[in-house]
Amino acid sequence: MANRFCSILLSQLKLISISIFLFVSQAVTAIEDNKTGSIAEDNPVIEPIIYRKEVNESRIDSENFEATLFAGVLSIEDFGSSGITGARFAFHVSELFFFEASAGQSKAGETSYERLSGSAKLLTDEQRNLSYYDVSIGYNVLPGEAFLTKNMAFNTAFYLVAGMGSTRFANDERKTINYGFGYRFLATDWMAVHADVRDHVFDMELLGEVKTTHNVEMSFGLSVFF
């Protein structure tokens, strides 16, 4: 009996001491809070959990650059037609204008004279290497859509380009004007197929007198936007 009484007394004492402790500690914090003067602001009853979804504008993927690999045929005046491969890099300024840097390389064949005369060679093998670079401005003159089937449409553009650069042929660098047109077929937003025709105009003096040559290039290209 005494034991039971003791245990009740003890538990009561425990409760009282806990409540006293709680009361005192609360009073102390209340006094401290009073000193700073903000009970409610610092300890809101309910802590709201807000997940703010911020928009980071710089994370919007911007695709204004385009890299192209192309291959085709280059007709080198007097030297026949040869295969050509190259790369282009474009910066799309607006929906209409773009700037483009291209580089390509090819190897000239033989002139009719060389073939007919048999042995006389105008150029060595190494001199027949042709490479060029140019910077051009492009204009999407006819943007449009191509319909493959009833429910499949692809964005396309017919564009004009013109620019200047340099062609290295027969070991010499020649100022080169280029102009032409192309067709861009966007298979997806980030990938396009190109068909291009360019005329590279430069002066040559290999066959005696200086003459202006037109070297037409026809190529197909595959590009990615990034």
């Binding site: 703010r52 979804k53 911020e54 928009v55 980071n56 504008e57 994370r59 919007i60 993927d61 911007s62 695709e63 204004n64 910066f91 799309h92 300024v93 607006s94 929906e95 700037f99 910077v135 999407n140 943007p143 449009g144 859509e145 449409a153 964005n155 200047m164 650069g165 340099s166 027969a170 070991n171 010499d172 660098e173 020649r174 100022k175 937003d189 980030w190 990938m191 003096e205 990615v224 936007f225």
Partner: protein
């Protein structure tokens, strides 16, 4: 051949992967009365869907001034001006405004291409500049001169002073040094390449066009320190186009 195919395939996979990885698109709410979704990123493409005020859209990507957005399962292209009024989930305006003349004043980097006349020959130049302060910048350039009898490569380092950076048409003075490597035409028999040191003074003007674009007119007077006794002076006039960041 299969190796090339594999390589091409894996490159495409990489791009496709990047597309999939970017699935967490930015969501914004329309404030304008409505926005129009067009089938392509150009003003001529037909409008096929409209999202009204209060509607939520996801911004997938941007091409020049066009945004590819998705709303209610429809994907189309919206002109930038139509999205300027939209709000982010936090209630703030979406910051997709164009760069302005203020950004021009605070630019760090400038990159451009120019072309013109170098002593009667054609010159093509690519350059990149960094602004040290509002009034001072350094520039690295590479020029290619294509003449009748020779061609030259000119790398140059310039220090540019802009006394009036706040003007829309802002003049500058340039002082620089570089090298010139000249190759004579092979038909002229004398085929030795020459490399000489150059220095130059110049003046020009930057014209802020709009957005991030600058038009530039540039004059430079080069002095080439020839290995022979006599120095050579060359005038260069160029017009160029540049972007800044």
């Amino acid at each position: 051949m299969p190796f090339y195919l594999l390589l091409i395939f894996s490159i495409f996979q990489m791009f496709a992967g990047a597309v999939v990885a970017g699935e967490q698109y930015q969501q914004v709410q329309i404030v304008d009365p409505y926005i129009e979704l067009q089938t392509g990123s150009g003003s001529g493409y037909p409008v096929f869907y409209v999202v009204e005020r209060g509607g939520w859209i996801e911004i997938i990507k941007r091409k020049t001034d066009w945004f590819k957005v998705r709303a209610n399962g429809k994907t189309g292209w919206v002109r930038r001006e139509q999205l300027e009024q939209t709000l982010t989930p936090a209630g703030k305006k979406l910051d997709i405004r164009d760069a302005s003349i203020n950004d021009f004043l605070r630019r760090d980097w400038e990159m451009g291409l120019s072309s013109g006349d170098y002593n009667g020959s054609t010159i093509i130049t690519a350059y990149s500049g960094y602004a040290l302060s509002e009034n001072l910048s350094v520039e690295l350039s590479l020029s290619h001169v294509l003449g009748k009898y020779s061609s030259s490569i000119l790398p140059n380092l310039d220090l540019l002073a802009h006394p009036f950076p706040e003007w829309r048409v802002s003049p500058y003075f340039a002082l620089g040094t570089g090298k010139i490597k000249t190759s004579k035409r092979t038909v002229l028999a004398q085929t030795d390449d020459e490399t000489d040191t150059t220095s130059h003074v110049g003046l020009g003007v930057r014209i802020y066009l709009s957005k991030r674009y600058i038009l530039r007119l540039d004059y430079k007077n080069f002095v080439v320190f020839k290995s022979q006794d006599k120095n050579q002076e060359n005038d260069t006039w160029q017009i160029g186009f540049a972007v800044f960041y």
